[in-house]
């Protein structure tokens, strides 16, 4: 037996060069004869999943608030959410593993698992029990009732409507209108987190109106001694109530348009904005000399050898203090620099920082 095999092998070896002339594939076939199979030796060697492999959707039922965003995002209508009955149902055969539901879940309780659904002879429908309204209100009393807005404190800035994943809110600053579409509202609470005035709550204005009045007294005022007229406040104002002109050193607020949301105060690099002219004025006297120094105190500077010469800072500088960068030699006009830090924010290479002089 062995002898026959040896003879056949020897003949084959002799014939290889000859055969190759006819069969261009001979070499590959011969090589493959002695190789291991290209297929995985399943189930001895199990399949290795990649981190991103989309196999099947799973749910962390405790976190689910029954908002139904997943059911609406699903392109194949595979998911059904019954909020009253407290169930979350997925038809596994209909699911196409696109993970649209996972991406849109406001509570991040849906996950994409690597493993596919295990085969079966019937179409699998998985039903998971989710906390019902009653159970949820036990756990978090604040989550009860419809979304309401305390119109006394509301400034109609519209940030809630922008944050709403279900497009359930309508806010009109001019008409002072705040409306919620109760059918569309999924009670995820994203708007409550975003509201700068804490006017929103589920089921009544329980926790509203506490800190609002404190901030609210008086119109928006700017300490012009400190102000560098960089215009970041005007850029971020949701109501377009601010006018800033660097050249003319003008800072103006249109009090009728101002919604007192406080976004400008957060954005101001020099912290020169505040509500309540009185408070600002009171501070103004002792600060009278200091601000002039403060304005000149910080200027932009570059870390050695980190500048990539992209000129992003040149475009970002509101004061025109940075000349065009040539051969990565970064310079700043110390006279012109207003210390706003816009160049540092704009630098893609993290090469700039603010230096105290």
């Amino acid at each position: 037996m062995i002898i026959i095999v040896v003879i056949v092998a020897a003949l084959l070896c002799l014939a290889v060069p000859y055969l190759l002339g006819f069969f261009k594939f001979g070499k590959t076939i011969l090589g493959s004869t002695f190789k291991k199979p290209a297929t995985l030796m399943y189930p001895v060697k199990p399949r290795e999943w990649q981190e991103r492999t989309r196999g099947s959707v799973s749910i962390d039922a405790d976190g689910c608030i029954g908002c139904g965003m997943c059911a609406r995002a699903c392109p194949t209508n595979a998911i059904d959410v019954d909020k009253k009955g407290g169930t979350w149902t997925i038809q596994r055969m209909q699911c196409i593993q696109c993970s649209a539901c996972v991406d849109c879940c406001p509570k991040k309780c849906l996950n994409m698992e690597n493993l596919y659904t295990i085969p079966d002879v019937v179409k699998i429908v998985d039903t998971v029990e989710i906390p019902t309204k009653a159970a949820a209100s036990d756990a978090a009393p604040a989550g009860d009732g419809d979304l309401t807005c305390d119109k006394e404190t509301c400034v109609f800035c519209g940030l809630c409507a922008k944050a709403c994943p279900a497009d359930a809110l309508t806010v009109d600053r001019k008409e002072k209108v705040w409306e919620v579409d109760k059918e569309a509202c999924v009670k995820c609470g994203a708007c409550i987190d975003k509201c700068p005035k804490k006017s929103l709550s589920f089921g009544g204005a329980a926790e509203a109106a506490e800190e609002a009045p404190a901030e609210d007294d008086g119109p928006l005022a700017c300490d012009k001694e400190v102000c560098v007229f960089c215009g970041l406040c005007a850029k971020n104002c949701p109501a377009d109530a601010l006018t800033v002109d660097r050249k003319e050193k003008v800072w103006e607020v249109d009090e009728d348009s101002c919604v007192k949301c406080g976004v400008c105060i957060d954005k101001c690099p020099k912290k020169c904005l505040a509500f309540g002219g009185a408070a600002a004025e009171a501070e103004e006297a002792p600060a009278e000399e200091a601000p002039a120094e403060a304005a000149a105190k910080t200027i932009a500077a570059v870390k050695d050898g980190e500048c990539i010469g992209c000129n992003a800072c040149v475009n970002a500088c509101p004061a025109g203090a940075i000349p065009d960068v040539v051969d990565n030699d970064w310079k700043v006009d110390k006279e012109k620099c207003i210390g706003c830090g816009a160049c540092v924010d704009g630098c893609p290479a993290d090469a700039l920082y603010m230096k105290e002089v």
Partner: protein, 360 residues
Amino acid sequence: MGKRTIIPFGPQHPVLPEPIHLDLVLEDETVVEAIPSIGYIHRGLEKLCEIKDFNQMVYVVERICGICSFGHGWGAVASMEGAMGVQVPERAEYLRTILHELGRVHSHLLWLGLLADGFGFESLFNHCWRIRETVLDLFEKNTGGRVVFSICKVGGMRKDISNENLKEMQEVMNGLKAEIKEVTDVFINDASVKNRMTGVGVLTKEEAEELCAVGPMARASGVPQDIRMTDNHGVYGKLGFEPVLEEAGDCMARTVVRIREVFQSIDLISKAIDQIPDGPVDMKVPNKIEGEYITRMEQPRGEAFYYVKGGGTKFLKRMRVRTPTNMNIPAMVKTLAGADLADVPMLVLTIDPCISCTER
């Protein structure tokens, strides 16, 4: 004139992965006329856009075809982005180009396998598909899906691909070149393969232009027609793209065009990975579509066309996709007339038919 016989070909036939029916009118062994009929797997994509919003439509369009899935997804989002008037970040454009070319490699290798199967070369078929498996693994690692990727979205990409993964992809693809060459040389040099394909089903340049052939079908007849030559398609303008052309116009030329495109795609992927900039891959887009827009894409099978019309809501008013196979059927019918009955499978296969695409 001999006695005419009509032989039904398909919708079920060993060489056809998807159902198309041909009535072959024969005189003895020669086909004098082929009458195609389609409509076995119509799925009503255009109606679906009334009940699926534009984000969901991307998943629907991706499933037009299991082979050029990424390209269809890209075509759909590109036309919607065009209607919205948004320009996606550059890194997203690069990633789309890389994945699209990877899709072309996988599509052409699949087709080469089917072709080998079509002329009865089983081991060649298996080797083509073995190599294709490496590409599918790359897809699974980077996108999460093997054939349907769901990584394109209106406004960019749903996930970024890290630079390390891209480098690995570049190495793997460049490493594959030798393996692919070993297999594709057989197509070009093997005597039995040559006998089946050289000089069979010649489509002249004039005929290709007249019948509006697209993709490798047109390029094999010497028509320089490739949407990747235009600057506004992905980042091909920056990669220095030149279309692959062959002059002969027969089955062999169509095979050679696809083989050369596999290598070209690997080079394009490699170049794009070298050039890819850092940055965001996603941007915020409006949640409604207004206006209309047309996008043309170069799919592995040729030029595809996407039309969207929005009505100011999140639903599209109209969506239309014209796929490459649709355009190549007239050319196929032309080459079938006068061919031997035994050559019919080769002629049907070498247009790389994707009937599911055609019927949507």
